[in-house]
């Protein structure tokens, strides 16, 4: 069952092509993360799905309805919740009043106190909105997004400006919502957030989807080379090493990329021990989601429109999927 279908979505502002043919689907019940640099078209895509913007071309279905049609858009408001980037709440109402007011707009809202509990604002329920901290206002915003008991929730950079513990508790709220069956479409700039929350990911750059997959497989991450890094022991050269250091030094660290690190590590540590020295700052790691993301988006940030998107999008994918 698909919650969102987007096919060949195009949008142009004046002469600027913001979306050049976006395709993706969101499966019901999953957390879908839409990533991409600022200006890549994330917000425009979301606003078309939310019914705030029209589209020039392409097919869009949200919960089986077309947000571009006024009748469908009106019906979607009952079933779709959203948390936008800017905080917007009436300053002089209390937390509970604010949520109760919006609950009254829906046919079958969630229980107001349950929602207050869910977003962790119980101690602040009687506080005026103007007296809340930025993070608390953001949580109130989230409460307004879910009070209508939506089947689909759009979260546009929901934890920007949160401290680490507030971010963790926001993640828990989002995971609870998924557990209760809500489909969530998320945009974020934090790759740890994607890693923690997302079931599937699409990267948008220069108005197209350039990569998609799961956080574990994005950009062939699961089959990527492991990277061994360490400090060259004093008095040794790269050519002294028992294995070919395939990469040049980066600062004082030697980097070796291998498919399977066990044997290479064995010969490296053996070499070091026989010389009576150590490999300072030794690490072995696969590329992080952030590494992969930066690699994917790097070329687009330099030359946003001249880059051949077609070849880039269809470059050989190392993933086994």
């Amino acid at each position: 069952m698909t919650a969102v279908v987007v096919e060949g979505l195009q949008k142009t502002y004046g002469s600027h092509e913001v979306l050049r043919g976006i395709d993706f689907t969101v499966t019901e019940g999953e957390i879908f993360a839409l990533l991409g640099p600022n200006g890549a078209g994330k917000t425009t895509t979301l606003e078309i799905l939310e019914g705030f913007r029209g589209r020039d071309k392409g097919r869009v279905k949200v919960l089986g309805l077309d947000p571009g049609l006024p009748g469908d858009s009106r019906r979607l408001r009952e079933r779709v919740g959203l948390v936008l980037q800017d905080i917007a709440v009436e300053p002089y109402l209390s937390v509970r009043e604010t949520i109760a007011r919006n609950a009254g707009y829906y046919r079958a809202p969630r229980d107001v106190d349950e929602v207050i509990e869910l977003v962790g604002l119980r101690e602040k329920r009687a506080a005026k909105v103007k007296d809340l901290s930025g993070g608390q206002k953001r949580r109130l915003d989230l409460a307004m997004g879910v009070v209508g008991d939506p089947r689909l929730l759009f979260l546009d950079e929901p934890t920007t400006g949160f401290d680490p513990s507030a971010r963790r508790s926001a993640w828990e709220v989002v995971q609870d919502l998924r557990a209760s069956g809500t489909t969530i479409v998320l945009t974020t700039h934090y790759m740890d957030e994607v890693q923690a929350l997302a079931d599937s990911v699409a990267v948008i750059a220069d108005g197209r989807i350039v990569e998609s997959g799961t956080p574990a497989t994005l950009g062939g991450r699961d089959s990527a080379f492991a990277r061994i890094r360490f400090e060259l022991p004093p008095g040794t050269k790269v050519s002294d090493l028992p294995v070919r250091a395939s990469t040049a030094t980066e600062g004082a660290l030697v980097t070796i990329e291998v498919e399977e690190p066990t044997a290479v590590l064995h010969s490296l540590t053996d070499w070091a021990l026989r010389r009576g020295t150590t490999l300072q700052r030794l690490t072995v790691e696969r590329p992080s989601l952030e590494d992969v993301y930066l690699e994917i988006t790097r070329s687009f940030e330099r030359e946003p429109s001249q880059q051949s998107v077609a070849t880039r999008g269809h470059r050989p994918n190392r993933s086994h999927s």
Binding site: E50, R74, L82, Y92, Y105, R107
Partner: protein, 281 residues
């Protein structure tokens, strides 16, 4: 799953999401459209009365002004300067009219442009609340604030010896029509203004000269000016407010007509130009 179901299923509280009520017809389970409207008015009232700035400038200022005028122009001596009325017989209705202007025109223009700029309107647009409930709710809220204000201003006038209105139905009609027209003009100005910062300045830039040439703060005896002001919305409203207080005065149909015409103009601008989104395409 896109199949539309007949609206008659809307009364069942636990229908599947496919069986939705037609929100345009205001079908809400266990509560009609009137209930939703009352819900909305209640929260508009809460937001207003808790906001000290709104209460002081929109609500209290006319009461303070009429109290000061009472101290300055008190006494029941009839004067030609006040068209044969006493000072307070003249100022009680005109300051009551000024309070309606503030509660409707000024309040709506500023509230709507602020809410648009902060994104509140955009967010509201994403909820199932029908737009007409939102606007009627705001209108009723403004009329309620105006009513309380007018009652207080008339009360202060009475303390200074001004007789109560003789024609209550004419006063009520004038108030409701005036409030609705100035609400429409406020919404019209909010539709034309770009940013919330510009809204208070624009509101005052329009209102301030208008109340002066319309004789709200002092009677105007210049014929040309009165002719011009008579075609603008404030002076006809003043005239229609003054009449029910004077003996024999009743419905001022010509003035009410001019007022209603301005209201229609404001409403047309608002309907054609209103934006929910702070950053439209």
């Amino acid at each position: 799953m896109t199949a539309l179901s007949p609206a008659s299923t809307a009364d069942a509280p636990n229908t599947s999401p496919e069986q939705e009520p037609d929100l345009r017809r205001g079908e809400f389970p266990g509560r009609g459209r009137v209930g939703l409207l009352i819900h909305q008015i209640r929260y508009e009232q809460l937001s207003f009365w808790r906001n000290p700035q709104a209460v002081i400038f929109t609500f209290l200022l006319p009461v303070v002004v009429v109290t000061i005028f009472g101290a300055v122009f008190g006494g029941d001596e009839k004067q030609d300067f006040f068209f044969g009325m006493s000072g307070m017989e003249y100022y009680t209705p005109t300051i009551a009219a000024v309070s309606v202007l503030g509660a409707c025109y000024g309040q709506l223009a500023i509230v709507l442009s602020t809410r648009r700029q902060t994104g509140l309107l955009k967010r509201l647009r994403a909820t199932p609340l029908p737009a007409w409930v939102y606007f009627v709710g705001l209108l009723v809220h403004c009329v309620l604030v105006s009513l309380v204000d007018v009652v207080l201003v008339i009360g202060v006038g009475a303390l200074y010896g001004v007789a109560l209105p003789t024609h209550w139905t004419a006063l009520a009609l004038t108030l409701v029509l005036g409030a609705a027209s100035f609400c429409a003009l406020g919404a019209g100005v909010a539709s034309l203004v770009r940013s919330a910062e510009a809204a208070p300045a624009l509101v005052q830039f329009i209102q301030f000269p208008l109340v002066f040439i319309s004789g709200s703060y002092f009677p105007i005896h210049a014929g040309v000016l009165n002719t011009i002001a008579g075609l603008l919305p404030v002076k006809p409203f003043n005239e229609a407010m003054l009449a029910p207080f004077t003996h024999g005065g009743g419905y001022q149909w010509k003035e009410l007509g001019v007022l209603a015409a301005w209201g229609v103009l404001g409403a047309l601008v608002a309907v054609r130009r209103f934006r929910w989104d702070p950053r439209p395409e």
